[in-house]
Symmetry: C2
Subunit: 120 residues, 2 copies
């Protein structure tokens, strides 16, 4: 059994699937939403972890929290509290190790899609 992929803080730790618990269908489901895919694209382009508050999603706070939870519970992102901020990072190393090429394929497709929809 591999150790959990994120550091946890007693009482405030958030549940993450270990690498071997990540399932393709759940990853694809997590990515199959425009807002969640936008979050993933932003995280993929950022060298640092990002606070939830950075993402100005056009939805309520609770819906936003839901989207981040779907991403975390599927294994796509890691979330950790730093003080009062909930920080987010893409689990690229885990995803690339399990499903080589998948994340890059989806990110490339998302870039194409964004370009297509802009130029329509």
């Amino acid at each position: 059994m591999a150790p959990p992929s994120t550091t946890t803080v007693a009482g405030r730790d958030l549940a993450h699937p270990a690498r071997e618990e990540i399932r393709l269908e759940q990853v694809l489901h997590a990515l199959a939403d425009p807002l969640r895919l936008a979050v993933v694209r932003t995280l993929a382009a950022s060298p640092d972890e990002l606070s939830c508050s950075v993402f100005e999603l056009p939805v309520s706070k609770s819906t936003s929290t839901h989207h981040f939870r779907v991403l975390r519970e599927s294994g796509v992102i890691a979330q950790v509290y730093r003080g009062t901020a909930k920080m987010n990072a893409l689990r690229r190393a885990d995803l690339d190790a399990i499903f080589p090429g998948l994340l890059d394929g989806v990110l490339a497709a998302a870039a194409v899609e964004a370009e297509r929809l802009t130029t329509d």
Copy 2:
């Protein structure tokens, strides 16, 4: 406007999105289900189109029809009637043209996933 991707027969034609109507989120949603992904893997491995009856999905007929419809309406597969059989083919050329590498990435991941779950 590109022509529709499938030949239609008056009165029995099934609705398909044209290539430019295919949306990434809908493709990912269609693929984010174990049964639909299994259908796609089988179609990807087949040189010929396959009848729905070839797929012995462990669900009711109506649920099976639903899964094929999701795949068709998202642009992942083409369905056409030949006599009384509904035949299915992967829209690989369309998907590869719009999102290069996406389908291959998902198929490779699905193969990994099948192997992982078998050897667990």
